[in-house]
């Protein structure tokens, strides 16, 4: 029982990362029909922002050494600027383009970011410790939980509540929901297309920044590809959750995290190295029975 609870907390903490990344992808898909494969590289970029730019093997902490209440907003601002720039320089030129074109363009943006990281920071992975004191365990009865997992879950909950309050209660949030449902009609009512899209990129940047901080504090490693697997699982999360549905992205993220951790824990030892294959098998099963995802959206059904 204790073992299961332990696994459950692991699953929630991994699922949190996937859910945050999936939300960043889902938000842009909802409004722009952009499947943003550069989101993983937004995450990598946010993590590299913590250290001094140099080719040295040893990382010197820069923003990463600041207290968290400075670190969070500054890293968020950096990734937001990166996200807005990619819209301004690339995606804005492609407003009339089809969804596959946008997706390919996002691959290109991702490669550019990866190579900028390579040029500035070098190819070797670097180790960095952020918030290492959070590795201490909290003991609740027989349960031993690293503080970091609780922080991850907590930060995710706060971000989810914040985002849903923003979307539900503020005029800008209502505009974004309207634009996600029927972009053309929203524009006929005077809602500025570029503003709403910029807002979506900015929020997606904030989510990427938070994901990168939580992720790097767990792994303690920086590499120019670090965001890619995270993005891949987050993308799968948005697909099984239902593309275009934000609730679906969150549910999908937690579902993927849950399945990964539980398979890791309960698969027979000799099969564990094939865990991801089993995760994808579950994903295929979900899609066979619910092809438009766990929480399908009507907007997508109309357009596809």
């Amino acid at each position: 029982m204790i073992g299961f609870l332990q696994n459950l907390i692991d699953a929630l903490s991994l699922g949190s990362l996937y859910a945050l990344a999936a939300l960043g992808i889902g938000l842009l898909f909802g409004i722009l029909r952009l499947t943003n494969f550069a989101h993983g590289d937004f995450i990598s970029f946010g993590a590299y922002a913590l250290i001094v730019p140099s080719l040295d093997v040893m990382a010197t902490k820069f923003i990463g050494g600041w207290p968290w209440y400075f670190m969070l907003p500054v890293v968020a601002a950096i990734v937001v600027v990166l996200a807005l720039l990619s819209d301004l320089l690339v995606f804005r030129k492609l407003r009339q383009a089809s969804a596959p074109t946008l997706m390919i363009a996002s691959f290109a943006v991702g490669y550019v970011i990866q190579n900028v990281i390579l040029m500035v920071y070098g190819a070797r992975p670097k180790s960095i410790d952020v918030w290492s004191h959070l590795q201490q365990q909290v003991v609740i009865g027989e349960l031993r939980v690293p503080q970091l997992q609780l922080v991850t879950i907590g930060v995710t909950v706060v971000l989810l509540i914040g985002l849903s309050l923003f979307l539900g209660r503020t005029p800008y949030g209502v505009q974004m929901r309207a634009a996600a449902e029927d972009f053309r009609m929203a524009r006929y009512l005077g809602i500025k297309a570029n503003f709403v899209i910029g807002l979506a990129f900015a929020i997606s940047g904030v989510l990427a920044a938070m994901t990168s901080l939580l992720f790097v504090s767990q792994t303690g490693t920086l590499s120019h590809m670090m965001g890619v697997p995270l993005m891949l699982f987050a993308f799968i999360a948005t697909v099984i959750g239902g593309m275009g549905s934000l609730a679906g992205a969150v549910v999908g993220g937690f579902a993927v995290g849950f399945v990964s951790v539980m398979l890791q824990a309960y698969l027979p030892q000799e099969l564990r190295s094939f865990r991801d294959a089993f995760v994808f098998a579950v994903v295929i099963m979900v899609l066979l029975f619910r092809p438009s995802g766990l929480i399908p959206t009507k907007a997508l059904a109309q357009r596809v």
Binding site: D182, A186, R187
Partner: protein, 257 residues
């Protein structure tokens, strides 16, 4: 107030509009009537900035609308209620109405407009917090008209207000549009397939067919309906007359109703 001068619109190789010119004066109710696929919706979309004409000009109060995105045209006071209603289904009725006023600076006037819309459409007041997707077709049509008015438009364009609604509901929608015209001094440009309704309702009528204007006159001069029928179907106009189709017979039924 609105001058559309000889606009041409192509969808790929299909010529949707081949030289459409219309004018709308302040306070007027102008109707575009014509069969399905005549180019009525394209005309309204071109005015609202949804499609770009490759020739011709569109002016609102003397100012050219060429190259402006839809949101800028909306902010200049042109409000389009597109065909098929397009409520934001996941948003509540109240959010749908308020979204029309987000671009306005005059917050207190917008709040007053919100109240006024609920007086015009009391059914919406009962459902303010419900998702708009749960409303009936007629209620949705009222909601999108109210939402369009929340932008404080100078010109309201309504595309096929009767589409997919029961005749009784259509009467209500037109009654409301007429009442709004009287109380708010609206300028209206309306697309309609049924020439009978148009004759009751419009000040001036344009008959659109095949991407061109085939007839233009004051409604009072067209009351016998004959000239409209001829322009609508292209009788005595062999070169332009398309072969009879199921769609056209359906339209014939509508005009004869």
């Amino acid at each position: 107030m609105l001058e559309v001068d000889n606009i041409h619109v192509n969808y790929g190789r299909l010529q949707a509009l081949r030289g459409v010119s219309i004018t709308v004066a302040e306070g007027e109710v102008v109707c575009l009537v014509g069969p399905n696929g005549a180019g009525k919706s394209t005309t309204l979309a071109a005015i609202a900035g949804g499609v770009t004409p490759h020739a011709g000009s569109i002016r609102l109060q003397g100012r050219s609308l060429a190259g402006l995105p839809p949101e800028s045209i909306a902010r200049l006071g042109v409000s389009l209620v597109p065909e098929g209603r397009h409520v934001f289904e996941a948003l509540t009725v109240a959010e749908n109405l308020r979204i029309g006023a987000f671009q306005r600076r005059d917050r207190s006037a917008a709040a007053a407009d919100f109240e006024r819309m609920l007086e015009h459409f009391p059914r919406l007041r009962e459902r303010l917090q419900q998702p708009a997707g749960r409303l009936s077709g007629g209620e949705q049509q009222m909601l999108v008209i109210g939402r369009a008015l929340m932008t404080r438009p100078r010109l309201v364009m309504v595309d096929e207000p009767s589409l997919g609604l029961a005749p009784k509901i259509v009467d209500q929608v037109y009654d409301i549009l007429l009442a709004l015209r009287r109380s708010e001094g609206l300028t209206l440009l309306i697309n309609e397939q049924s020439s009978k309704r148009v004759l009751q309702f419009a000040d001036r009528i344009y008959v659109v067919r095949g991407g061109r204007i085939h007839l233009h006159d004051l409604a009072s001069n067209l009351q016998d309906g004959k000239a409209i029928m001829e322009a609508y179907f292209g009788f005595g106009d062999q070169s332009a007359a398309p072969p009879p189709t199921a769609k056209r017979s359906a339209a014939l039924g509508r005009v004869a109703e």
